[in-house]
């Protein structure tokens, strides 16, 4: 069974909820009140994640038959030590503490199509990793500005906004030329990857940090495409979208 330590208004938690929904994985939520209680800094939570950050995912399904996808047998016998040496916490499960790590884990283990994280394609996983780092840059800028506006965090919101606009200009240009090559996603290919999910939440929530997306039409179209991925769910601050034009 998978447990997500979750805060409804967190974009980083939303990344995980999106992938869990798109992969149709059942899980239970354990709410951690990030604001105003700051329960993610509490002693009980730090026992689970010493970094005091959200999300945290615990997967107790050691037996592959519990999983959405059965791993190839030989792989299991070949690499038993990986699971043994993986970060096991006292409650006997795999505990992951970073949204990118969780996305990689869920996609690798549970995606039957192996499209969300095509681990056999070195170029693609390298590009995905680039975008995961880019997503961290968006978190450090757009998300911080949002925390300043909505939850009164004491950060330099103007500097965060300026940085976010720099990143958005880069992203819009990337997406515009991707569209020019008939590509729909951050990493070229027919299907979206975890790169799209890692970047999406704090972009779609950017206006809560007074970062308008009006000057980024290619980003706005890409957010429409993400919203039309089967299994997409909203969170507070994210609007639903209508159906795609069927050809």
């Amino acid at each position: 069974m998978i447990t997500l330590y979750d805060y409804e208004l967190s974009g980083n938690c939303y990344k995980i909820r999106l992938l869990l929904s798109m992969l149709e994985i059942e899980y239970s939520k354990h709410t951690v009140e990030f604001y105003p209680a700051a329960d993610h800094k509490s002693e009980w939570f730090k026992a689970i994640n010493p970094l005091g950050t959200l999300p945290v995912l615990v997967d107790r399904s050691h037996e592959p038959q519990n999983a959405g996808q059965r791993r190839p047998l030989q792989q299991k016998t070949e690499k038993p030590h990986n699971e043994q040496t993986a970060d096991l916490n006292p409650i006997d499960g795999l505990t992951l503490k970073d949204s990118a790590a969780i996305l990689v884990y869920l996609a690798t283990r549970y995606d039957k199509t192996a499209s969300w994280y095509p681990s056999s394609d070195p170029a693609k996983i390298a590009q995905i990793t680039e975008w995961l780092a880019f997503a961290d840059g968006i978190t450090a800028s757009a998300s911080q500005a949002r925390l300043a506006e909505g939850f009164f965090y004491n950060v330099d919101a103007d500097a965060c906004r300026a940085r976010a606009h720099q990143l958005f200009r880069i992203l819009d240009e990337h997406l515009w030329f991707a569209e020019h090559r008939k590509q729909r996603w951050l990493v070229a290919g027919d299907l979206p990857t975890i790169a799209d999910l890692a970047c999406f939440p704090y972009i779609i929530l950017s206006e809560e940090g007074s970062i308008s997306r009006q000057d980024y039409p290619a980003i706005r179209r890409w957010t429409d495409r993400v919203k039309r991925i089967p299994g997409f769910i909203v969170m507070p601050g994210v609007f639903p979208i209508g159906p795609e034009l069927s050809s």
Partner: protein, 308 residues
């Protein structure tokens, strides 16, 4: 980058409140439970404030309660009036012209009173109050929680301005709510009563699933940071022994989180009082009364007054 500069330049030129009604009103600035003895900062009506839980003798003036010290950051020695009520610290930048409205339910002993959240929203206070009075958006904005398509009808309800207390009151409000009671499979019509006892505060009474004779209370106290920025404070007062405060707070944060992007996408941000600025329908009766009521009081802060 540039826009940021423009925005901050404009924020600096924002003048402080010249509206005497608002200037001399009580405004909530923080939840009591979130306020410690160190110095906190906030803004009210365009002015920076500091506040803290006061040590025993700090406040010797005669106004209000003596547990908290609030002052303008620019004039730390001159304490502002303080009133503690309904879980929040209230202050006034001028001279309180009237006592804070009453909310007797708060004192009922079997109620679970929860300061549910304080959230910053880039909108004027009256826009936030008007949204709070609005039922028509439930199926679209609070989908699956306060409403659900196709049940979109806003039935006829009554609105009046009470003579004695000068409040807007909407009664007989009913709206379809999915899973209105815990464990219910089907939705039902839920009854609401709305009060607007203060230009920037509104109180919602909602039929209580556990006790037909009582009503749960959700109150919105809007702190006008300036004309187009607010902090929305929520008080939830329920007759519900089972729900943990965490669940209540998360519920309210979700609701406010859903309203926030709507409010931040309203143009103009100030509430237009000219009847021809927007298009009311029968479902907006409470909003029409609220706008007229603001006009009648001569409110100018956070609104675009109707042309004379």
């Amino acid at each position: 980058m540039l826009r940021v500069q423009i925005a901050s330049t404009m924020a600096m030129t924002e003048t402080t409140c010249k509206d005497p009604v608002i200037h001399n009103h009580w405004h909530a600035i923080a939840a009591i439970e979130d306020t410690g003895s160190h110095v906190h900062h906030t803004r009210l009506l365009g002015e920076d404030l500091t506040y803290q839980a006061s040590t025993a003798r700090d406040t010797s003036d005669s106004t209000g309660d003596h547990e908290f010290a609030v002052s303008r950051t620019a004039a730390p020695d001159k304490l502002l009036p303080v009133h503690c009520a309904y879980g929040y610290i209230w202050t006034c930048l001028g001279t309180p012209a009237q006592p804070l409205f009453t909310l007797p339910e708060y004192a009922e002993s079997d109620r679970n009173n929860v300061c549910a959240c304080s959230v910053g929203v880039r909108v004027s206070a009256p826009r936030a109050v008007e949204n709070f009075l609005d039922m028509g958006h439930f199926p679209y904005v609070h989908t699956g929680i306060l409403g659900e398509q196709p049940h979109t009808e806003v039935r006829e309800y009554d609105v009046e301005i009470t003579e004695d207390s000068n409040e807007v009151i909407a009664t007989r409000c009913r709206f379809y709510q999915p899973q209105a009671a815990a464990g219910a499979n089907e939705g039902m019509l839920v009854e609401y009563v709305y009060r607007v006892p203060h230009p920037y505060c509104s109180i919602l009474y909602k039929s209580c699933p556990d006790d037909e004779s009582r009503m749960d209370v959700i109150a919105l106290f809007v702190q006008p940071v300036d004309e187009i920025n607010i902090r929305a404070h929520a008080l939830v007062s329920v007759i519900d022994a089972t729900s943990a405060p965490l669940a209540i707070r998360m519920f309210q944060q979700t609701i406010f989180g859903q309203d926030k992007p709507i409010l931040e996408n309203q143009l103009p941000k100030k509430l237009p009082l000219d009847p021809r600025a927007e298009t009311p329908i029968r479902a907006d009766k409470s909003a029409v009364f609220y706008r007229r009521w603001l006009s009648r009081q001569g409110i100018s802060y956070g609104v675009i007054p109707a042309a004379a």
